[in-house]
Amino acid sequence: MVPKDLRYSKEHEWVKVEGEDAVVGITDHAQEQLGDVVYVELPAVGQQLEQFKPFGVVESVKAASDLFAPISGEVVAVNTELAKSPEKVNEEPYSEGWMVRVRMKEPSELNNLLDAAGYEKLVAEEG
């Protein structure tokens, strides 16, 4: 099912905690719903994200969808590979399809996110 070591937002983003940093992407369920991803609009390094506010756009063949920050903080890295290969979001949503790395402003915000079981339940209910 979904990776157990990640945290999840209700908007289908995932967070991987690496020390002070949070790596962010969208879930397998999200990429499956979107269809073929053709373009990802991401913030610049240095930009401040606020938990649950829109921070970018993921565009599939049929439609564009907002990305919502699962955690607040400063963007310290952006996955520039996605400009050439947006399909990585579909193919490897939890690894090569990562989108931004954020230096967390307030790690306790992680408590506002779901764990793997909680996210799986959300997806089943949406279903």
Binding site: D36, Y39, E41, V61, K62, A64, A83
Partner: protein, 375 residues
């Protein structure tokens, strides 16, 4: 046929669900948008062959002594030049010269015709046909039969370079010799059907019309081949990206009641010299004066998609709007069609599309974006 939530379903509906299709609403029907993925299906059509359920499109049979006169009034192309078995693209216009629908007209017999109309316009066109007929002086209704057979038939599209080899085993008519924009009656999986060499993808291909039950059998046979990987079931998602690459208009985007054929670059299908053509005065005026906007192709420099309604800007001034935009798997870039001022269409200055308020550079290119045989 069940009508869950008011949407119609084709006779193949349950087969799409069984194949794992994602379904969407389109023109009042619940249709498959994709099975394996839009880009994968698109590429399969260009490289091998794709299979489409086209049963949602309206199939209206017009026959009788008055059929020719009626059709010459209804639609812009010259029906008289249709030989038996020939098909033509045509436009139904309102009295201001705007497009009510774009259609195919097939000559099935001496006074027997088939009109294939857009699903979203079927009821509108049927109503309009009554109005046009009523306006024909001295035309007896008894000498004309209009029969909508949409709900009792299936239409399957087989599109791609391997179309002939995929479809031939199920069709009696020799497909190789069937000319483009021609059709003929044929037994298909043993039933009486009609096959034409027509399509909406820019590839070689066929469209087969048959009774609903035979249509299901044909689909299941073709789906079996698709399961081997030699073909792909293809949905509305790639139908749109394919026709966009081929520079073909889609009603509701490049064509509308407020858009005339000349703006859409379709003047060659318009014959306003036909004395009873509905909209002829307006069409003559527009043709003489020249259209106020022109349809162009756009290639966006980055991969941002410029969708319908996106402003097209030259040196800070809006000069038009996108009518359709998507990702082109064949060209591996973002493409769009737009209606712009004629001088912009002629001069092709550098321009921008304003996607979500941000300017993305783009350039005008010739249509179509993709032509079969040219790699």
């Amino acid at each position: 046929m069940s009508e869950d939530s008011g949407l119609k379903r084709t006779p193949l509906y349950d087969l799409h669900l069984a194949a794992g299709a994602k379904m969407v609403e389109f023109g009042g029907w619940e249709m498959p948008v994709q099975y394996s993925g839009i880009i994968a299906e698109h590429r399969k059509v260009r490289e091998a062959v794709g299979i489409f359920d086209l049963s949602h499109m309206g199939r209206v049979y017009v026959s009788g002594r008055n059929a020719l006169r009626f059709l010459q009034a209804l639609a812009t192309n010259d029906v008289e030049k249709l030989a038996l078995g020939q098909v033509q693209y045509s436009l139904i216009c309102n009295r201001e010269g705007g497009v009510r629908d774009d259609i195919l007209v097939y000559r099935l017999g001496d006074s027997d015709y088939l009109l294939v109309v857009n699903a979203s316009n079927r009821l509108k066109v049927l109503g309009w046909m009554e109005e046009v007929l009523g306006g024909l002086a001295g035309a007896g209704k008894a000498e004309l039969s209009i029969r909508d057979r949409t709900l009792e038939t299936v239409m399957v599209g087989v599109q791609g370079p391997s179309s002939v080899s995929l479809l031939q085993p199920y069709v009696e008519l020799p497909l190789e010799g069937l000319r483009y924009y021609h059709g003929a009656p044929s037994r298909v999986v043993g039933a009486e059907g009609y096959v034409s060499r027509t399509g909406y993808t820019g590839e070689d291909g066929f469209e087969a019309i048959l009774p609903a039950e035979a249509g299901r059998q044909l689909w299941q046979q073709l789906a079996q081949v698709a399961s081997t990987g030699a073909a792909a079931l293809a949905g509305l998602g790639c139908r749109d990206t394919l026709r966009l690459e081929a520079g073909m208009p889609l009603y509701g985007h490049e064509l509308e009641e407020s858009i005339n054929p000349f703006e859409a670059g379709l003047g060659r299908y318009v014959h306003p010299e036909k004395p009873e053509l509905v909209g002829r005065e307006a069409l003559l005026r527009i043709r003489t004066a020249g259209p106020k906007r022109q349809l162009v192709g756009l290639e966006v420099t980055d991969r941002a998609i410029a969708r319908q309604g996106t402003p097209v800007v030259v040196a800070g001034t809006e000069v038009g709007r996108v009518t359709s935009g998507s990702f082109s798997p064949t060209l591996d870039r973002s493409i769009a069609m737009a209606l712009v001022a004629p001088e912009v269409a002629a001069e092709r200055p550098p321009l921008e599309v304003a996607v979500r308020g941000a300017a993305h550079p783009a350039q005008i290119v010739g249509l179509p974006f993709y032509r079969r045989g040219r790699k």
